[in-house]
Subunit: 424 residues, 2 copies
């Protein structure tokens, strides 16, 4: 994409109400814009990153045998009444009444909607397991929404739901999803701590949370300095400095953390309430074992910025960067323009995503500031000086070093660097 | 994907309330399921088709220089008040109040939200044009929702918004989008009639509608039998049998039609109300020229079924089919299983999307009925009989003819047939 066309331009000053770093940087760099507190438009750059995050998670969810669907966002009261959550989760739900007097809740989650869908098709054990997920909008009436895109009133989530014939089959899949989560988080570059925690309006069971340590996190967790086991402070019987109850060797340390994912085991609690029964091999009717598994897409987006940045801007991991290359033309001579245009087209032809700063009304300094703010992994500079040596300048966003690289070797180099992820 | 794993199974009988053919076939074949009247879950097959439709439209929108974003769905009353639509479009809007007493409308469209976003960044003519689109959920309080997925209360839409410095620039882009629409609809296999129509709650100007002739359509249009010009009956001064007012040669014929897309020119009406002004070259402040452009994603899905089917099921065009190949193993001998598995893996390796009917509890007749119902373009059958000649059976869903094809020539044949779209 040509930066001269990109909407919007970057902004020098962060909005006054932007306390969180992700809020400041994502708004300044043009990734998102706030409609109202807790509700964001994902702008072209932000939507590109969100889609990269979605694709990583999609691949990992598919690898567990889950199937992608899209469930509705406006849900009839009757379904929520079946589990009692129309009342018990009332605080977090947005509710409305249509002109015919019918009552609805907006999707703050989809357990009831998934179970309603599954029970329409479920007859016998041969229909199990059923594992469906979607990427969709969630609405939560949060008392505060001040951490940038980390906690929204309207946000994007991946939620997976699965039902099983037995406890054993459920927990086998539960571990499979947990492994898939760890793979996805690793691809984002997160060092994730898995913690035990309480289930809130979801379940009385213990749940598993996937936490990324960060000073802006809203959770307080205790992490073992040896085995990296985690415990949410809310449910911990230990305190910081205690021996780890898991490995018995390390010491617990208190950390602030952002919860980027969670897994809820529901046993048969919801399926009994919603009468999601199947006929087992012996002919008996049994309720299914049920679990749900969430990852906040927009929260991952914000967390990436909280973790990967410096004082100049964002430093995207390659796996989710909006573009791989930021191609910068810093003089507007015919020679530079021609060389930059050719390189841009060559990159496109090779399928290497590039943002091409073709603007003619910006100084080199302004352009480099934008490069650092936006945070694309590789910067390539074309100038009269580099062209005199048939070269371009190549710099990683995460490094200070600038290399002069011959143009005729650049594409091969980039193809190797970018496409072969194992060699990085 | 293995059909033994696919959720859900097909259904023999259409639901009793299913009047529309798209409702009957899409539910029976397992593409969608109704949550409540006018609200559907897109199941794995249906979501695959929706994504294919989205990708075609995305490519055509990008080709006009538009940029993809994602705008929120829950909108504050204040913004809708600026144009007066909080009141004037009240009938179609779902409204709600949160626990703090703040009022919201759910997205029935996004004109106001786009303009609010654009005016935050817009300063001078050098910032124009701005052309943003998204694929997102719309909520409309429709009095009736009985045409399957053709008219929903919650549905998916592509909506594009653009603002421009002048009438001339606006109408130039308007025609560019219109051309992109025609290309997209052609890729879906639609024979589209472009009609002039009234703008409803959107505008007092004439709008352009993209209509597909079908007996289940809710619109009545007059079409010239010579030049194919169209007029919506609502605004037509002519009647069926009259000479075409456009070409003056053909005669107008009355048709029922489904509106799959529309384009609204708003002049400066909304931008004046919302104070979306820019500084022009001469230093004067001017309101932007504004337009919006919609395509109903889920309506396209339903229309495809209304247009492309026979008495046995759906016949998807290749451009949007959920899979390209339906691979069917009709005996469960080791030899057949092994050959079918190998072929399935070879297809995957070549990047050819296949649904593999690996089920061992279905007869050949049941499998063929599912193939016809689901409507994937190519059926490949592996059986003891075909293997005796080192062959598989190849049949197009749209044709009766069955060809015996050598396995070692099949992949090359499919690659040519499927990947090279120009040769079809």
């Amino acid at each position: 994409m040509r930066q001269s066309q990109l909407f919007p331009k970057t902004i020098k000053q962060a909005p006054k109400d932007a306390v969180a770093l992700n809020h400041q940087l994502l708004v300044r760099a043009g990734f998102m814009n706030q409609l109202i507190a807790g509700s964001w438009t994902l702008l072209p750059l932000g939507w590109r990153v969100a889609n990269k995050i979605i694709q990583v998670i999609r691949e990992e969810m598919n690898s567990t045998g889950a199937q992608e669907v899209l469930m509705p966002l406006m849900h009839p009261k009757e379904i929520w009444n079946e589990t009692g959550r129309w009342e018990s989760a009332s605080e977090v739900m947005y509710k409305l009444k249509d002109t015919r007097g019918k009552e609805f809740a907006l999707s703050f989650t989809h357990e009831e909607i998934f179970l309603d869908l599954a029970r329409k098709y479920l007859q016998s054990y041969t229909d199990l397991p059923i594992k469906l997920y979607h990427f969709s909008t969630k609405f939560r009436n949060e008392p505060r929404a001040s951490s940038g895109i980390l906690r929204g009133r309207e946000f994007l989530m991946k939620d997976l739901y699965s039902i099983h014939e037995s406890k054993q089959d459920f927990f086998k899949y539960y571990e499979q999803v947990s492994d898939a989560y760890l793979r996805a988080f690793k691809r984002f570059g997160f060092d994730v701590i898995v913690t035990e925690a309480a289930g809130g309006v979801f379940t009385k069971n213990m749940t598993r949370e996937y936490q990324v340590i960060s000073p802006v996190g809203e959770d307080t967790i205790f992490v073992c300095d040896k085995c990296r086991a985690g415990l949410n402070k809310e449910i911990s019987k230990s305190k910081p400095g205690d021996k780890c109850p898991k490995c018995g060797q390390g010491l617990l340390k208190e950390e602030r953390a952002i919860e980027v994912g969670n897994i809820f085991p529901f046993d048969t609690y919801y399926s009994e309430k919603m009468k999601v029964y199947f006929t087992d091999k012996d002919g008996s009717k049994k309720p299914v074992w049920f679990g749900s598994y969430g990852i906040g897409i927009t929260r991952v987006l914000g967390t990436l910025v909280e973790i990967f940045h410096d004082d100049k801007g964002i430093i995207w991991p390659e796996s989710v960067a909006p573009f791989k290359i930021h191609l910068v033309q810093i003089e507007n001579t015919e020679k530079v323009k021609k060389a930059a245009e050719k390189l841009y087209n060559d990159l496109l032809k090779q399928g290497i995503e590039a943002l091409y700063d073709d603007r003619t009304d910006k100084t080199a300094g302004e352009k480099f500031a934008d490069v650092d703010l936006i945070g694309i992994p590789y910067r390539i500079v074309v100038s009269e000086k580099t062209l005199r040596q048939d070269c371009v300048e190549l710099k990683r966003r995460s490094e200070k070093k600038i290399e002069l690289t011959r143009i005729n070797r650049l594409l091969r180099f980039l193809n190797e660097k970018i496409k072969n992820k194992d060699e990085k």
